[in-house]
């Protein structure tokens, strides 16, 4: 017996939106079975990871804070992926954005003024964009695959943090801890809801996604991204340069990752520490796909992913589930999503080998 994938005539539009939901549901079901099989309370694990963050109002602020960077980075990636530019190194661009913002914060240490935070934001965006410019340059000049270069640059940026917080930027009063000093008041993001940890980055994330949605659906820039991704040959015929598109896609996605880095370092962290890379840049890849490469979808996908992060922490304390469980659930979600996408475009047909020749 043999199976074959056959292309469907017209992919169902309803299924395109149903798959992300189905992927989440399947992840919950299979996750429950899987963790039951290895001796945990599987149903409990799924409940803690997926439901507790929603039902426990104390966790809502955590959701917002975790979702914000995922939404911002995921929005940038959804734009680049539309153009078939596979920026896998958002984590590195996020780090470089964070470092650039840290640099501004340290350089203005002790100063006050409303302009410090905007300056940090600009530095963060530029830092992320500049770091994404390296794969762009290599891709357009030497045709080096951007997947490889952007990914590898991530590891270089991690080393840069380690160096900076151990030597030039080390907190002089830090008793030898490898970290910078806490930013002064003017370089810290204000919380927008008193007595919570919800900072200014949360509404910024929503605004970024909404603006991106408008730009992608209405502007020539969005059209260019989509047409280059869907049919590069037609894009050239329509007057869109492929190289320019690669540059734009990497600069925008890198810049947004850098912005997320700035918001994180000025918000929850308030200083640069070696633990700054928290894989937001990689998780945002799942967010972009789960959100159907649509900035509005990315908002929801970012919240779903934030739920698994927060829920993973809950499960860690309440039922002693290892923190890696979060990764397992997130990976399962991406797996089911991509599998679902294949089934939207193809159907599986069983091909029975037939005897050749003359019928009786």
């Amino acid at each position: 017996m043999q199976f074959r994938l056959e292309k469907r005539r017209e992919p169902s539009q309803a299924m395109v939106y149903a798959t992300p939901v189905a992927a989440v549901v399947l992840t919950m079901v299979v996750g429950a079975i899987l963790f039951s099989l290895i001796g945990y309370d599987g149903v409990g694990a799924v409940r803690e990871i997926f439901l507790t963050p929603l039902t426990n109002s104390f966790k809502w602020q955590d959701l917002g804070v975790k979702a914000a960077p995922l939404i911002i980075i995921g929005t940038g990636l959804s734009i680049a992926y539309r153009a078939n530019v596979w920026n896998i190194g958002a984590e590195g661009q996020y780090i470089m954005g964070g470092l650039a913002a840290t640099w501004v914060a340290l350089a203005t240490y002790g100063m006050t003024g409303w302009w410090i935070l905007p300056l940090m934001l600009v530095a963060g965006v530029l830092g992320g964009a500049a770091y994404a410019a390296i794969p762009a340059l290599l891709k357009t000049r030497l045709n080096v695959n951007e997947i490889l270069t952007s990914l590898m640059l991530t590891y270089a940026s991690v080393q840069l943090i380690y160096y900076l917080v151990r030597a030039p930027w080390k907190d002089p009063m830090g008793m030898g801890f490898p970290q910078t000093r806490i930013f002064s008041e003017a370089a810290r993001l204000p919380t927008i809801i008193p007595t919570t940890i919800v900072h200014l980055g949360v509404p910024i994330a929503i605004v970024v996604a909404l603006v991106a949605w408008f730009v992608m659906s209405r502007s020539v820039f969005g059209y260019q991204m989509k047409v280059v991704g869907a049919a590069p040959h037609a894009a050239r015929y329509g007057g869109f340069s492929e190289n320019k598109t690669i540059w734009l896609a990497l600069l925008v996605s890198g810049g947004l990752a850098g912005m997320a880095g700035m918001l994180e370092v000025a918000g929850p962290f308030q200083r640069m520490v070696p633990g700054f890379p928290t894989n937001y840049g990689f998780t945002a890849i799942i967010v972009a796909f789960l959100g159907r490469l649509n900035p509005l979808g990315v908002i929801f996908a970012g919240i779903v992913m934030a739920i698994t992060f927060v829920g993973g922490e809950v499960a860690q304390t309440s039922i002693g589930l290892s923190n890696s469980a979060t990764g397992v659930f997130q990976a399962m979600m991406l797996f089911f999503l991509l599998a679902g996408d294949i089934l939207i475009r193809y159907r599986i047909r069983r091909v029975a080998p037939q005897a050749a020749g003359v019928a009786p």
Partner: protein, 510 residues
């Protein structure tokens, strides 16, 4: 004597389409049988079932009198059915011999195979050197490989799918000789085409399909091309209507010494091409596929820019350094050969496809934002004016049939009223009705004073449409002459060029 092949009540259904509906016909031994129909009439589906690529939903296939199930192409070859496809499956970097060896069902030592290949080539006059690399061969020669490959199996039925669409008139004549010889030896031939004069010249019987149904089985020698065409499209044919007493105006598009760089390994660049197209003129460029047509279109449209600003001028304004957008703004629009993925984006709606080329000329963009309302209105006009069968501007380009998509694309460019329109293969794979509509639209555009360049491999089309003709061969363009002064033989020789002549001499028959 039983029929070689007998189809009874063959029906094949795809989701939403009845591709073949109760088709019944029979082929005698030694008969050259034409299968005639427009694109989408069900010819290919029918042939795929005979060759075992698909299975019929209902009906019976009889082979030499007994019912058979053709499970797959291998089983078909075992029965003695050979097929030469329209699109060749050859590895360009391998030799003729290696390509044939790869396609054999059973392993034959290469020396033995070469001897058999040479025997077949001599027997049928298919001149070809087995040790040449496919990349160096012309399309006609490549087709010979496919024919030899089929003949090595000593078929009793040979299926030829649109074999002449890529050949020069001389090559077509050579092919017909081979086919007649085969038929005389008792091999039946199922000849798929929509070129009526070829069918009249070659075939003993013609089966005509329309919309999946059998319309008629007739003797093409008793029919006129017109009567068969009308059976094929099920309606009266329209002739191209030209305005009386047309005169050509001032030179509009002037191309002088245009050359392009070689980009890929096997592609043909254009070399020092010069021509002038006047207002109101339709300028035809004939040539066998792969002789630099694509490079010429890309160089004219602006997809590939030349270093010389004066290589292309429009009304005296140099366009050479401008990109496609710049040239469009100046009034030069182009339609490439490949519809889906080049001239249009299959996944996009028709409305979004209008934005692709019409956004600047028709003001669909303001402050970097797309005015989707304007795109929709314009698309609606294209659909209405060019009778595009589509649900509306929101249908995806990929959901349209080839002919309808081509009508949409031509309409999208023509309604922008370009002062120069360059089109490649405007009616390739398009049914007769749509082709007539496209031809008429081009003639009307020229009558309104635009200069038009038509690059095509279809000589009939060029001769019917163009005022002036030139022939492209290996990237060189022959001097242009009025269409009426050039005979088919002359054009054919130019199409074959020096290239084709040299090959015939070099080939080793045995």
């Amino acid at each position: 004597m039983p029929y070689r092949l007998e189809l009874t009540g063959i029906t094949k259904r795809f989701p939403g389409v009845l591709a073949n509906d109760n088709v019944t016909f029979a082929v005698k031994p030694g008969e050259i049988h034409a299968l005639l129909g427009e694109n989408g009439a069900g010819k290919s589906t029918l042939v795929k079932m005979i060759y075992g690529i698909m299975q019929p939903d209902a009906g019976e296939i009889r082979w030499d009198g007994s019912p058979v199930t053709v499970a797959n192409p291998k089983a078909a070859r075992k029965l003695g059915i050979g097929m030469v496809f329209q699109h060749f499956s050859l590895f360009e970097a391998l030799t003729v011999l290696e390509n044939i060896a790869l396609g054999m069902d059973s392993k034959i030592p290469s020396r033995q195979l070469e001897a058999r290949i040479r025997a077949v080539m001599t027997q049928y006059g298919l001149l070809l050197d087995p040790h040449r690399t496919v990349a160096t061969l012309s399309v006609g020669e490549r087709q010979r490989i496919e024919i030899v490959r089929a003949l090595l199996l000593e078929p009793k039925l040979l299926i030829m799918d649109e074999p002449t669409s890529v050949l020069t008139p001389q090559e077509v004549e050579q092919l017909f000789e081979v086919l007649r010889k085969l038929a005389a030896e008792g091999c039946s031939i199922l000849y798929i085409s929509h070129k009526l004069h070829e069918i009249k010249a070659l075939c003993d019987t013609a089966t005509i399909l329309r919309g999946g149904k059998l319309v008629d089985t007739c003797d093409p020698k008793q029919e006129t091309s017109r009567s068969m065409a009308e059976k094929m499209i099920g309606a009266g044919l329209k002739d191209i209507v030209r305005g009386e007493g047309r005169s050509l105006g001032q030179p509009k598009l002037v191309v002088s010494r245009l050359s392009t760089a070689k980009t890929g390994h096997f592609d043909v660049p254009v070399d020092n091409v010069s021509f002038t197209v006047r207002a109101g003129e339709i300028f035809g460029i004939a040539g066998v596929a792969g002789n630099g047509q694509n490079a010429l279109l890309d160089a004219l449209s602006g997809e590939v820019r030349s270093g010389d600003k004066d290589a292309i001028t429009l009304d005296g304004f140099p366009l050479g350094l401008l990109d496609t957008t710049g040239r469009r703004k100046r009034g030069l629009c182009a339609v490439p050969e490949e519809r889906n993925g080049h001239a249009a984006v299959g996944d996009f709606t028709l409305s979004d496809n209008s934005v692709l080329t019409a956004r600047d000329r028709l003001g669909m963009v303001m402050l970097g934002l797309i005015n989707s309302g304007a795109a929709k209105t314009y698309t609606g006009r294209v659909i209405a004016d060019f009778a595009v069968k589509a649900l509306g501007p929101a249908s995806t380009a990929g959901s349209l049939s080839g002919g309808n998509l081509q009508k949409y694309i031509m309409g999208r460019e023509i309604l922008q009223k370009p002062s120069v329109l360059v089109v490649s293969q405007p009616t390739w794979g398009v049914d007769a009705g749509a082709a007539a509509a496209i031809h008429q639209a081009l003639v009307d555009l020229a009558a309104a004073g635009s200069a038009i360049v038509v690059i095509s491999q279809d000589l009939d089309e060029l001769r019917a449409l163009c005022d002036t003709l030139a022939v492209i061969n290996m990237g060189h363009l022959s001097p242009a002459r009025p269409t009426g002064e050039m005979s088919v033989e002359e054009i054919g020789l130019l199409m074959g060029g020096v290239h084709g002549q040299a090959e015939a001499r070099d080939a080793v028959p045995a």
